[in-house]
Amino acid sequence: MPPESYDLGLDKQEKKKTSAELAKDHIDLVMEKAEGELKKDKRWGRLCEVGGSVLIGVGVVSVAFLLERLSGGGGSQELANALQNMDFGQFLSSPEAKMFFPALSNLGFGTLLVVGGKEKIRQAVAKAKDKKNHILSQYLGRTETPPQT
């Protein structure tokens, strides 16, 4: 009988990650990478000296800018609290978020074209659709997007 400390190596085998774990890994990694790249950019370097941790809030505050610009509304207390606390859940439930994101066309690309009707948006959607169709065929077992009814 092996001693208790005998190492069979079983605990060293990497457990296969679930899709949820992989998704969360991706979310955190891309966020950290985006923050890191932004801080390395010389245009942002001086800002990082002011306060790196505060810089993290810049993205969210910029969302506030977009919300106000695109919805025409003012800042609410919910949004202000969410910005201060970096509370993503609260941010999503703020009136501005609810006003702004439907205006982003439901992520329904056809609707976006109708609402937007602008060439830059059209181009962005076209690129996104190319990528989506690639994923559909490559990873999700569909050869093409079914025709719309």
């Binding site: 991706h26 001086r46 002011v50 505060v54 976006l112 077992g141």
Partner: protein, 121 residues
């Protein structure tokens, strides 16, 4: 279905627990905004204003900081920001699907494909 619901549905199908959907959807939106900001870039004048705004936020002068932040982007092209935002969000979700790859069950793949087709319509 609006983009928030879309993202949360995507995450839910991916297996993220319900009580973690808001947090992770928020992280995604925040990340997309960082990517958009980097791509759209800012000039020296905007950087200076941003520095001042961040200083205010750091001093816990929340309202002043947010107001200062708004002036940074005076004249910015909302259409450009919006299209960049949509493009990067879709790319982001597709990359995440790529990352999950073989860990997805056939049922998850079917649901994700259906969700993408709903978004198409």
């Amino acid at each position: 279905m609006n983009p928030i619901e879309f993202i949360k549905s995507y995450l839910s199908i991916s297996g993220i627990p319900d009580d973690q959907l808001d947090e992770n959807a928020g992280k995604i939106l925040y990340t997309i905004m960082l990517l958009v900001m980097k791509e759209q870039s800012i000039n020296e004048s905007q950087a200076k204003k941003l520095e001042e705004a961040i200083t205010l936020l750091k001093e816990d002068k929340k309202q002043e900081g947010i107001e200062a932040m708004k002036t940074v982007f005076d004249g910015a092209d909302a259409e450009v920001w919006q299209s960049s935002f949509v493009e990067k969000l879709i790319e982001y979700l597709m990359d995440m699907t790529d990352k999950m790859g073989d860990s997805l069950t056939e049922e998850q793949k079917r649901k994700l494909a259906d969700l993408l087709n709903v978004a198409e319509g």
